[in-house]
């Protein structure tokens, strides 16, 4: 096995186990791994952005191909750095105005088209189908996303939830019943979102544990086993050196 793979396995295992020590309690080992993670991530992004943007998209085209027109966006970008010079900070507004204007101009029409109009269209989908030789057909099926029964449920849900957030009318009588229906739909929606979130977090845990199992192999030098022993020992020493605190209840 290549040496760099073995080193990578040891580093990955060590950092994973250091992060897991937080499950016991907050400690310096966890903080070390956390700071390393943030530092390496930011460092990687800075280097990659510098290489791609400055070197490949700005310097090389200007020097090698003579694309001097690129100096215009570079100058606009440089205006942002005037924020660091209080007297010249006003100049940065031109750059921000351009970015905000362009962003809003691009996003508003497309967002209205993609999310508002398309979603309204789907919500008010006709409940009865008039196509086919039999005239009006009912194709209600909860398992079929395009069925009329689902269309009714979605129409009911959207209307009642919108009514729940309509505070200009007192929620009493029929209004109370509609608002309560809206709450039920919201609770189902939050439940589904929470269920998926739990699934996602468990998937991340599975990913880490899969790697730990893989790296317990002899071909890597069994980093999982050795590092578990080492980190458990370090935690024990740390616990002995510091006065006992009640476990963090958060």
């Amino acid at each position: 096995m290549p040496f760099e793979l073995i080193v990578g396995a040891w580093v990955a295992t060590g950092l994973t186990l250091l992060i897991f020590t937080f499950l016991y309690k907050d400690n310096p080992l966890f903080k070390l791994a956390e700071h390393l993670y943030v530092g390496v991530s930011v460092g990687y992004i800075i280097v990659k952005t510098y290489d791609t943007v400055i070197v490949h998209l700005v310097v090389k085209p200007i020097v090698e191909n003579g694309e001097v027109a690129l100096l215009i966006p570079v100058a606009i970008g440089m205006l942002m750095l005037t924020r660091y010079v209080p007297k010249a900070a006003w100049m940065s507004r031109y750059a921000f105005a351009l970015i905000v204007g362009m962003g809003a101009g691009l996003a508003i029409p497309r967002t209205i088209s993609s999310f508002i109009l398309k979603q309204i269209e789907d919500t008010v989908r006709p409940l009865l189908s008039l196509t086919g030789p039999d005239g009006i057909t009912f194709s209600m099926d909860v398992l079929n996303p395009s069925s009329n029964l689902n269309a009714i449920i979605i129409l009911l849900g959207v209307s009642s939830v919108l009514f729940y957030f309509f505070f200009s009318i007192e929620h009493s009588g029929v209004g109370k019943a509609v608002a309560r229906t809206g709450i039920i739909f919201l609770m189902i929606s939050f439940g589904a979102a929470f269920g998926y979130t739990v699934m996602a977090r468990m998937s991340l845990l599975i990913g880490r544990l899969t790697d730990l199992i893989e790296f317990s192999d002899a071909s890597y030098g069994r980093p999982t086993i050795w590092l578990v022993i080492l980190i458990a020992g370090a935690l024990f020493v740390l616990a002995r050196r510091r006065p006992d605190h009640p476990p963090d209840r958060q």
Binding site: T52, R110, M202, S203
Partner: protein
């Protein structure tokens, strides 16, 4: 102190231990629970399956190592499928922090499937701008990516013959862990340049993307590790996602049991206190 009181004040580390064991044991001793294929995952699979050879398939790897456990298996399964169908596979990323990982992923699967760089597949790398990159690609792919990840001019890549912009893409899948991701690809890509599109996402994002799926704005959605496991089952190459499904089921069962127990102890305590 009664049993209910003691159970409701249980040390959280015991719960961590229970969840940890429920995850670890099925990974060490897999049971092989059946995996049901959902229509949303089948949507992506069926569309790729229906594409003729040499169709242009664009895969945007819009995630970074933080979402690797969920989206990496999805990307591997989709790439294997696309390569086996002999599609022209163009890959890229909108996430600068995921560039190295995306390169490693594409290179690994291509080597495994014995595909040649430039002829069968390409990795364009990352370009700054997020959604602006998508719009730029819709106008001129070569201006958004003048060179590929290795610095080779994209105009010299045989795989891009006849591909000028996003309108020439037959099918596109974005595997997104946030923004920019599936939504941005739909809003600034598909809706504007009219190509067929599918999506893959983390479990956390899936409920938010279901409205796009239902309205037909995307034709399929692979959600989280479970979606990846379904895709692996569909292509008949079971990998890390399928292996993780037993653990996923066990932890979900443990959480359900814990929730029921907590509620039972809570109501029992309330009854005791009158």
């Amino acid at each position: 102190m009664t049993l209910s009181e003691r159970m409701l004040q249980i040390d959280r580390r015991i719960i961590f231990l229970v969840i940890g064991l429920c995850t670890l044991l099925p990974l060490l001793y897999p049971v092989g629970l059946p995996i049901k294929i959902t229509s949303e995952v089948r949507g992506v699979y069926d569309h790729i399956e229906s594409l003729p050879e040499h169709s242009v398939f664009l895969l945007s790897i819009d995630f970074d190592p933080a979402s690797k456990p969920e989206l990496y298996p999805q990307a591997i399964a989709i790439l294997r499928h696309a390569f086996s169908k002999k599609l022209r596979v163009i890959t890229m990323t909108l996430w600068v922090s995921g560039t190295g990982m995306a390169d490693q992923l594409v290179t690994q699967v291509a080597r495994e499937m014995e595909k040649e760089y430039g002829k069968d597949y390409a990795f364009l790398g990352w370009s700054p701008g997020g959604q602006a990159v998508i719009i730029n690609m819709g106008q001129d792919l070569y201006s958004a990516f003048p060179s590929d990840y290795g610095g080779k001019p994209t105009k010299d890549l045989p795989i891009l013959d006849g591909v000028r912009n996003l309108k020439d893409v037959t099918y596109m899948v974005s595997l997104g862990a946030g923004k920019p991701g599936v939504e941005e690809w739909y809003v600034f890509g598909k809706d504007k340049y009219k190509f067929e599109m599918g999506g893959g996402c983390t479990g956390v994002m899936a409920p938010g993307l279901y409205p796009l799926l239902r309205s037909g704005q995307i034709n399929g959605l692979i959600g989280g590790l479970r979606g990846a496991a379904e895709y692996e089952s569909l292509i008949g190459q079971k990998g890390k996602a399928v292996a993780g499904m037993d653990a996923q089921s066990a932890t979900h069962m443990a959480i359900i049991v814990l929730v029921i127990m907590c509620n039972a102890f809570y109501f029992s305590l309330r009854q005791q206190r009158g």
